[in-house]
Amino acid sequence: MLTYITRRILYSIPVLIVSTFLSFVAVSYGGDPLGTLRIQRGISQHTLHLLYIQYHLNKPVPVRYWYWVQDAVEHKFGNSLITLQPIWPDVTRTMGHTLQVVLTAELLAMVIGIVIGIISAIRQYSIFDYVSTSVSFLGFAMPVFWLALLLQILFVDIYLHWNIRIFYTSGLNSPGQYATWSLDRLQHIALPVVTLALISFAVYSRYMRASMLDVLNTDYVRTARAKGLPEWRVIMGHVFRNALIPITTVAALNIGAVFGGAIITEQVFTLDGIGFYFLRSLGSLDIYAVMAYLTLTAIAIILFNLIADILYGFLDPRIRYD
């Protein structure tokens, strides 16, 4: 097991190097990194030239990549080329907000998705099954941004027509409030959470249903029934627990989609999250901020895949890693 984990981690290092290098080449050739600074007033040619030298922009791209790696490791991704401020404080602040929204949404989606998946598997081809199937198919076909926008329009209109403020449609807190967990914050993040949860819910409920149906057809479930166990004990003790195993993989593979969904949702609800930060940086060609985001999400995805595989080995003794 330990050798397996070590090998996987060692293997993911070259993956990370190659992917960051390719990203770096892309962002470096994509445009003038100092372009936004150039059009600002009050920046002399001399200052620009000094920045050019200071950030090694006169060196070839592979050399610059090496400088970037050093900067990323030693100085937590270094400074932004646009604001000339350190990147890390921005990243940690926005990442905190994103994690709050994303984890709440995932938890919600997982619990509701699993419960609904179980019920539709037990009552296969019932009305409940058809309704939940239709909802999840709609979830697969629904663009995240459209759903977010619809919710926003709905609640803006409710506010404008009846002057009732149920949920806020942009930002993280009302002016003057900063609490991470408060009613005010919940009213702000409710709509982004619902948007992300609805999209993920479709995935979880479908996989849970299929996984339940797989287990329901196995021999050991038939044996459990034959020896006279009450149905609820068959479902909870024999089917449910085994059906959960594949869901760990689904949850881990979903992490990439969740990060992607967060970019869109945060943009629509102008939420100060990491996705919003990434989009803004990309818009102003803030290449080191973009690189920080790409590197961190790549690490997150690799890490979650690893955790899922290890967890799978623990949960399902039939899987052996040597």
Binding site: V15, G30, F145, W146, L150, V250, F278, L279, L282, L294
Partner: protein, 324 residues
């Protein structure tokens, strides 16, 4: 006695080496001579029957064809051009007046027409991405699976790499830097990301089939690599290729819409459905600007997904019916 079907199964290639298929016309003569009325069916006719049994998929297919035809003939069907301005009807809701069925935006552009033109852009992107990514996936998977060795290793590591990247973020970066707001560049970049799943499937099929006796027999009778790949193995990958390609159309339309919505894919004035929805963001009061283009995306994607599921059941019965 009804006219015996003597025409051998035409069209699509028959998977070589599949014992359940007896394609020889001689077989007909034997059965006719024995007084048996046997209808010769190819694998494709079985598949067609399985698909037709799937009511929802057939319905979705017809709906999809309808929508795509509307998009393809946008210049004949749309009452207005996508950029035509009607100064008399600025920002009005859905009405039959002056054929503004889906309303207009603050510039007086007709949303019914814009949605129809948007369908055209979306279907072009979707089909282009599906075709190009299928070809890439086929070539990569075939080479990796057939030649194995270091080539396989390199190609599969590249596939793994693409699969572990944060897809939307990378796409946004590439579109921002190299997309150039052009529809075809946007599609090409998307295609560069969509081939990985198919490449793995095709590689798997090639890996297992290249060891089969019929391939060995073909080799023994002097068939070259190309002939074995194209003639003997490739036809067996057609099921997964068609299913994957169909589902890729839906995925590409969704991703393109998201990119364009965020302002990094296709840009105005080209009317992509994502661009149209983005216009709704600035007008939360005018719900029709958001609702109709978005509803169109949902409808198209839903139809493509149903067709894809129907095709999967018909062509590839061993695959599971769950989609991420």
């Amino acid at each position: 006695m009804t006219e015996p079907t003597v025409t051998p199964p035409v069209g699509p290639p028959i998977p070589a080496g599949d014992p359940s298929v007896v394609p020889s016309p001689a077989g007909v003569d034997v059965t006719v001579a024995a007084g048996l009325e046997l209808k010769i069916r190819s694998q494709w006719s079985y598949a067609r029957n399985r698909f037709l049994r799937h009511r929802l998929a057939v319905l979705a297919l017809f709906l999809l064809i309808g929508i795509f035809l509307v998009g393809a003939f946008a210049n004949y069907i749309a009452p207005y051009s996508y950029s035509a301005i009607d100064f008399n009807n600025l920002l009005i809701g859905p009405t039959t007046r002056a054929q503004h069925y889906f309303g207009t935006d603050e510039l007086g552009r007709d949303y019914f027409s814009r949605v129809i033109w948007g369908i055209r852009t979306s279907e072009e992107v979707g089909i282009f991405v599906a075709v190009v990514s299928s070809i890439i996936g086929l070539v990569v998977g075939a080479i990796a699976g057939y030649y194995r060795g270091w080539l396989d290793n390199v190609l599969m590591r590249v596939t793994d790499l693409v699969l572990t990247l944060p897809a939307l973020a990378i796409l946004l970066v590439l579109e921002a830097l190299f997309g150039g707001a052009s529809q075809w560049r946007t599609s090409l970049i998307l295609a560069g990301f969509f081939w990985t799943g198919l490449a793995r499937i095709v590689r798997g099929i090639f890996l297992s089939l290249r060891e089969k006796e019929y391939v060995e027999a073909a080799k023994a009778s002097g068939a070259g690599d190309m002939r074995i790949m194209f003639r003997h193995i490739l036809p067996n990958t057609m099921g997964p290729v068609i299913v994957n390609g169909t589902l890729a159309v839906a995925a590409a339309i969704l991703v393109e819409a998201a990119l364009s919505f965020l302002g990094f894919g296709i840009k105005p004035p080209t009317p992509s459905l994502g661009v149209l929805v983005a216009d709704g963001e600035t007008n939360p009061q005018a719900w029709w600007i958001t609702v109709f283009p978005g509803l169109t995306i949902v409808l198209i994607v839903l139809c493509v997904n149903f067709v894809g599921d129907g095709l999967r059941d018909a062509l590839d019965p061993t695959q599971r019916r769950v989609r991420a």
